[in-house]
Symmetry: C2
Subunit: 257 residues, 2 copies
DNA sequence: CGTCCCTTTGAGGGCCTTCAAACTGTGTGG
DNA sequence: CCACACAGTTTGAAGGCCCTCAAAGGGACG
């Protein structure tokens, strides 16, 4: 793990955390200035290595500046469970405002560039500034909404549908991050890992991918996935935009008051 | 649904929401006074009826003063999916700070007494007061931690283990609410509903309950469940106290700074 | 051109579902 | 007090989805 200072990370002429939070709640110039005082350390992590270790204390809020990651744990019988994939540009959740040992390890699935914001400074700021607190709250609510949908998929759908659901979830999240166009995205994750995420064997992921392709829902080419029938698939797997919390849902004045 | 006014609900000589939030973040006398100005409406809902309807606008934050509830939806193929059980004393999540249509219906599993706090007033307060914002944030984090564990159970455990996990989750949540003693609790939920929660058929819930009893992990008597081997079961189903966010994890000064 | 990692394909078995029916407890009306 | 209806639990048997083990196929890299 190489380490460097990066208040202004390259390729990003601003403060990454400010950019993310301001999507979730209107921030004043002063809010932004307060946030800008909290500078991140930049880390580079190469594919396959852990950058958060389970049971280690959490001191920082990590943002994936670039690359994919997985939060996982190894269960007592040796099987691996993947809680969540983290995408380029996303905040890795479960790390704030906790100061407890990490509940899940995080592994780089590709080469990763990481921004680490010190928890203590953030915690202090959140306790002083209600707008920033609400912004974090809203971000948490957004991530929460995807987790609820994962629960729905795991409990209510079969393997075929779960994988279709995952394709739509990733497509949606990547579109929000500006990393998917034309219903197409890159999926640099091996099938065994997808299996650990969706609660099925990697071999079965393969069969279901194949069937989704044969049924015309998706097309695959190496690591690229294109959703061919987004509407049809969404209906099949119970995926709805309305189930995802968007910024407007939170700070738009109520239409019903 | 009968309706009444209840700033000071009977059997509760205080402001229920204040009591809950102050568990999650230290509140000043002024904070409590601000919260106390937001008065709740009390509703009574009889067993089996819905009190939140999917796609209806959310105007209030509901707290279950008494009784059990389930958040559920009916999927396009007619199957029911239960997202979460809500226990007496708990805030029903997914309702704040949203003003969008409800994503899940909520059904009373027993006779229920409900406290409804107007979202608009709460939203206004949260935007003014950082401590109350952090308290809500922390509460959300707490609920989030249980959801993460549900995902782990659904993706990583078989039916037998999932049901054991649920027993421990409910026991833990009820203990926190002061409604379980001696590893024993009342479970007024039919097995079919538990199946919809855990992603398995109600009939299989029965078989797994039976096996958990035969293996000495639990004892059942009508609707009462006693966990006989809490440690053993916890290890089997990967249930850890450390996976549940507690108040101290959030506002205790960092040990590592 | 060989190695390694991952994907793909095949066959057998187990977990869980599905359909069905018997059983139990509870409330209701005769 | 009993007969009955009703809801939920319990038990049985057959079948399907998914797992498990295994091996072959493909692509990237040296």
């Amino acid at each position: 793990v190489t380490k460097g200072n990066a208040d202004t990370p390259k390729g990003n002429n601003g403060h990454a955390l400010t950019a993310i939070l301001s999507r979730w709640h209107p921030l004043t110039r002063e809010d932004r200035a307060s946030l800008a005082e909290i500078s991140a350390q930049e880390y580079r992590v190469s594919s396959g290595t852990d950058f958060i270790h389970r049971d280690d204390p959490v001191r920082d809020l990590p943002i994936l500046q670039d690359g994919w990651a997985a939060q996982y744990r190894v269960m007592h019988d040796g099987r691996r469970f993947v809680l969540k994939l983290s995408l380029p540009g996303e905040v890795i959740d479960g790390c704030f405002p906790l100061r407890e040992p990490a509940q899940y390890s995080a592994e780089a699935l590709t080469d990763v560039t990481l921004l680490l914001y010190p928890s203590d400074s953030l915690f202090h700021l959140v306790n002083e500034n209600p707008r920033i607190a609400v912004a974090f709250f809203s971000l948490e609510t957004y991530q929460h909404s995807f987790l609820r949908n994962r629960v729905m998929a795991l409990a209510g759908l079969n393997a075929y549908e779960r994988l279709g659901h995952l394709c739509l979830e990733l497509l949606t999240r990547l579109e929000i991050l500006g990393m998917a166009e034309n219903d197409t995205f890159n999926l640099p994750v091996k099938q065994e890992t997808l299996g650990e995420l969706l609660g099925m064997h990697g071999v079965h992921i393969n069969r279901m991918f194949r069937r989704l392709g044969a049924d015309g829902f998706i097309a695959r080419n190496k690591k690229t996935i294109q959703v061919k029938d987004r509407e049809g698939l969404a209906q099949l797997v119970e995926f709805r935009k309305a189930d995802i919390v968007e910024p407007s849902a939170i700070h738009t004045p109520s239409k019903y008051s």
